[in-house]
Symmetry: C2
């Protein structure tokens, strides 16, 4: 019998937990009713979790509960977390991987603490210079992977090259077995543009592009991120975080203004009747919950961070992401990419 995909879930992290977590679990189970190849390992307050499983009438044959007595608070800092976190749902959810109780861990809790704990428990892979937080970005043709989104605010060229390999492995495991197209985020598309660090990284990626892991397409500017011509976008954590949040802010600003315009008078309200389904489709396509889940890459096991403020639908998408990552054999893809990198550098 093939081993089941086991996903460790921190049931207590993020807003409205464990309620939204358990309802997200419910959605995942309903969508995967015909699959029998996974097990969800929930970490948290057993009594509360059981009550919610009852409330939502969830069958427990694909669920395991591990009781934990405390929760990482939003106020905890990475510095104090290690001392204070050993009995938390988050800590035990990560630890499950080294105890053979999980293939991947998922939490919607405090990001900074999650990164520190994950790195401490799972340890960095031998060939990785720095682990990175990778996210998904919608574009005209589908989705691209963007990394780093904020784990490392200062990076060198070696880090950025690693990000290209890690991001390519993630893209391959999820979307396609073809070589992903990699671009480097910069303020111009000509080879002479940008900082010395970017120019150095450009050269290295160009050389590696002859290898078998990805095709390096050169620099990409912020206004082309959503064109869909690139699969993996590489940047340092400071720039990646600025770009991600600016895109979020811009999207909110535009949709807020659109809503206001469409509710302003009788005629525009009538127009909503005729365009209801079009707007629904439009909203669905851009729904940030579909892109919920950033992946911490470069450790000896994958960790997914769900947005703390998302709802049950968003959390469902991050469970689904965990499932697909393990199905796509991410860790194998990463090791394969890093092997290539090593033989190239020798």
């Amino acid at each position: 019998m093939k081993k089941k995909i086991t996903i460790a879930i921190d049931a207590m992290g993020g807003d409205n937990s464990p309620d939204k977590i358990i309802y997200g679990v419910n959605l995942f189970l309903r969508k995967n009713i015909t699959n029998n190849d996974f097990l969800l390992n929930l970490f948290g307050d057993e009594k509360k979790i059981k009550e919610l499983l009852d409330k939502y009438n969830i069958s427990t044959n694909l669920i395991k509960i591990t009781h934990t007595s405390s929760v990482v608070s939003d106020e905890e800092t990475p510095l104090t977390a290690v001392k204070n976190s050993k009995n938390t749902s988050m800590w035990n959810c990560i630890k499950a991987q080294i105890e053979g109780d999980a293939d991947i861990s998922l939490s919607a809790g405090n990001t900074g603490v999650l990164l520190v704990i994950s790195r401490m428990i799972l340890k960095m892979m031998n060939d990785v210079s720095k682990p990175a937080l990778a996210g998904f970005w919608p574009n005209q043709k589908g989705m691209s992977v963007v990394l780093d989104l904020g784990a490392n605010i200062e990076c060198n060229d070696e880090n950025l090259v690693d990000f290209a390999e890690l991001g390519s492995a993630l893209y391959k495991s999820l979307f396609s077995n073809e070589k992903p197209i990699v671009s480097l985020l910069n303020i111009g598309s000509e080879e002479i543009k940008g900082t010395e660090l970017l120019k150095k990284t450009f050269k290295k990626l160009k050389t590696l592009s002859n290898d078998n892991n990805f095709i390096f397409k050169g620099y990409i500017e912020g206004n082309r991120l959503m064109d869909g011509d690139t699969n993996v976008i590489v940047t340092d954590g400071f720039t990646g975080n600025i770009a991600l949040k600016t895109a979020e802010g811009t999207a909110k600003f535009i949709t807020d203004n659109l809503k206001k315009s469409l509710k302003q008078n009788f005629f525009t309200r009538i127009s909503l009747i005729f365009s209801y389904f079009a707007f629904k489709k439009f909203k669905e396509k851009l729904d940030p919950r579909k892109y919920n889940g950033a992946i911490f890459l470069g450790l000896n096991g994958p960790v997914v961070k769900s947005h703390g403020g998302t709802d049950a639908v968003g959390f469902y998408h991050s469970i689904d992401l965990c499932y697909k990552i393990i199905k796509g054999n991410l860790m194998h893809q990463i090791k394969n990419n890093l092997n290539h990198l090593n033989s190239e550098q020798q």
Copy 2:
């Protein structure tokens, strides 16, 4: 008699020039038909300019034409530009300021060349460490000033403090005489977040905030740029350029998807009849042409860069911006702010 506001305009720079430039001039003259306090000094091919003035039936009593024999091409680089540019419309348009023929210069031509030429001809102000390119960003309450947008890809704390003073002066000259609220772009809002450079700048701006030029509000994240709670956003040119272009790309992605949704079938097309005016208003509010014009600050004279790809309406807005900048006495505001800075540092 009060001296007229004189605006030097490069009539040849950007796409579809001089046609769009002259039509932009036409729009400006029509909007300011009752004002008699300005003169537009056009630089370029005299024959072509005259033909277009005739074509659009433009009265020439507020216009002066200075013939120039060549144009800065899009392919010119900042390195070769100085040698090749002396007879161009751009060069002479900037030079007009030191010859007393203009209070401000405006061009839609090659950005890199414009920055180099401007700096060479007008020279940096004594108290400024680096000049910056400042732009306008729409928000829920109006507009904010963002700088630097790409003139300096690497900055130190002294540069960023100068940008705060320059940006505040620009905001005051255009919008209000009250103290502008200044924020520093970062990846978190807590004081401990970000690079060492940002932490150092944070401390300096906090001290200066007790002065009389601006109120320092602390860090701002990318997703809050459009909330309208801050008037001046300070960042280095690399980060500013990434943020600006990512916002542009996101806005385009969303509006493209919206258009597609609304044209998909008979019902959604009907809805457009009812929502026509609402969409028009929505489009007008977000029209990038209204924000056209970035200002090169920190030289002994202001230079405005219009987007090369904008149309006559966009160019009209950048002429209007020049007019308002001089009316608002920008250079006086800048000197005032820098004086404060100097006395603070002594």
